[in-house]
């Protein structure tokens, strides 16, 4: 949820209260007559920021930078409206056409620790990444094999504790185990990043039930990190209360990459606004009339 490390909610700040703009989740009928732009500050994230390690972001879409044409990166970032872009650290043979030359100014760089097999590797990669771009943000990824790319929660918790103590804003990719999520929080994680399904699978929220438990109990933002394959799945994640979505493959494998980035932006904003609005009740086995049903008022 939208909380800072010390547990204060974003609504403790002097900014306009979200409640003032949206009313309560259960009774929107008592809203004062809003002007047409009364909700703009929600859509733009100004009154509803994502807070990571004390840093505020108005976008809730984190974009992977992998594998597409470098010349598409700027347009894709702009269409996505994203403020955080991930990248990997590798041995350097040339600095010509370096990724950093293509990332617009003002974007927060989020190095990952891909290639790390244990906590020690991840800590080493994180420190090197900080040396390259002077960022404190790091996305921990610890994987043992390349077939499933499943994260090792135990090593991830270890690395989180070490790096959080060194002042990093630690964003751990994790298998959606609610107990591990709590342990990551205790270790100092700035958020938790459970996978929706296998990385790059485009299968969506296959781990939904367990992510819901994580969301219900989290004191840090919950960011769905892997497997989100289409905008409707991103919206579904946001509707159920995820704080942000990270996507890469869904966008990189689209026919029109910048346009798909924009579709994701809209879906994530729509899902967030739906979550803030309060979704309607689901009924089973009967209809709920949406017109008056007083028998005396029918024309027959």
């Amino acid at each position: 949820m939208s909380t800072t490390d010390n547990g204060a909610t974003s609504q403790d700040n002097a900014e306009p209260s979200l409640d003032e703009l949206v009313g309560t989740a259960t009774n929107t009928a008592i809203l004062p007559e809003p002007d047409a732009h009364a909700y703009d500050s929600i859509a733009t994230g100004e009154s509803d920021p994502l807070i990571l390690g004390g840093h505020k972001f108005t976008s809730r879409f984190i974009l992977g930078s992998g594998r597409y044409d470098l010349n598409l990166i700027k347009a894709t970032i702009e269409n996505a409206g994203t403020q955080i872009v991930t990248m990997a650290l590798r041995r350097c043979r040339t600095t010509d056409n370096n990724l950093l030359d293509y990332i617009p100014k003002g974007i927060t760089m989020l190095p990952n620790t891909s290639g790390a097999h244990n906590a020690k590797d991840a800590v080493r990669i994180a420190r090197l990444a900080r040396e390259v771009c002077q960022t404190d943000f790091v996305k921990i990824e610890i994987e043992h094999e390349t077939k499933y790319l499943l994260p090792d929660n135990r090593e991830t918790i270890k690395a989180t504790e070490i790096l959080a103590n060194e002042g990093f804003v630690v964003m751990p990719y994790m298998f959606p185990d609610p107990i591990a999520a709590r342990q990551l929080e205790e270790a100092g994680a700035a958020c938790v990043m459970p996978l929706g399904s296998l990385i790059g699978s485009n299968k969506g929220l296959r781990m939904r039930d367990f992510i819901e438990v994580i969301i219900a109990n989290a004191h840090v933002p919950v960011i769905i990190d892997a497997g989100i394959g289409r905008p409707s799945q991103a919206a579904e994640a946001m509707e159920m209360g995820a704080d942000a979505v990270m996507a890469y493959t869904a966008i990189a494998s689209a026919g029109n990459i910048p346009l798909m980035a924009r579709a994701f932006k809209h879906a994530i904003e729509a899902g967030r606004e739906a979550y803030l609005s309060g979704l309607g009740t689901v009924t089973e086995g009967h209809a709920v009339p949406s017109s008056p049903t007083n028998a005396a008022d029918y024309l027959h």
């Binding site: 992998g66 594998r67 990997a88 590798r90 041995r91 350097c92 040339t94 990724l99 891909s114 090197l128």
Partner: protein, 64 residues
């Protein structure tokens, strides 16, 4: 000396700054590790490399 996993012969000691220059790399785009420890940017001109050292030079690439 081993640089990025490749064995190389070093005739005479050189600084980290000189190694980066020799390879045509932009210093602001890389981090350098010497025998497992990071060489901070402000120490690159004074830290000397000797035959037998293990050096890693890294940068960012595209990745999720």
């Amino acid at each position: 000396m081993i640089v990025n996993g490749q064995r190389e012969t070093l005739e005479a000691p050189i600084s980290v700054t000189e190694l980066i220059e020799e390879r045509g790399l932009r210093p602001e785009r890389v981090a350098v590790e010497l025998n497992g420890d990071i060489v901070p940017r402000n120490k690159r001109s004074e830290v000397m490399l000797h035959d037998g050292d293990t050096v890693e030079i890294v940068t960012f690439v595209q990745g999720g």
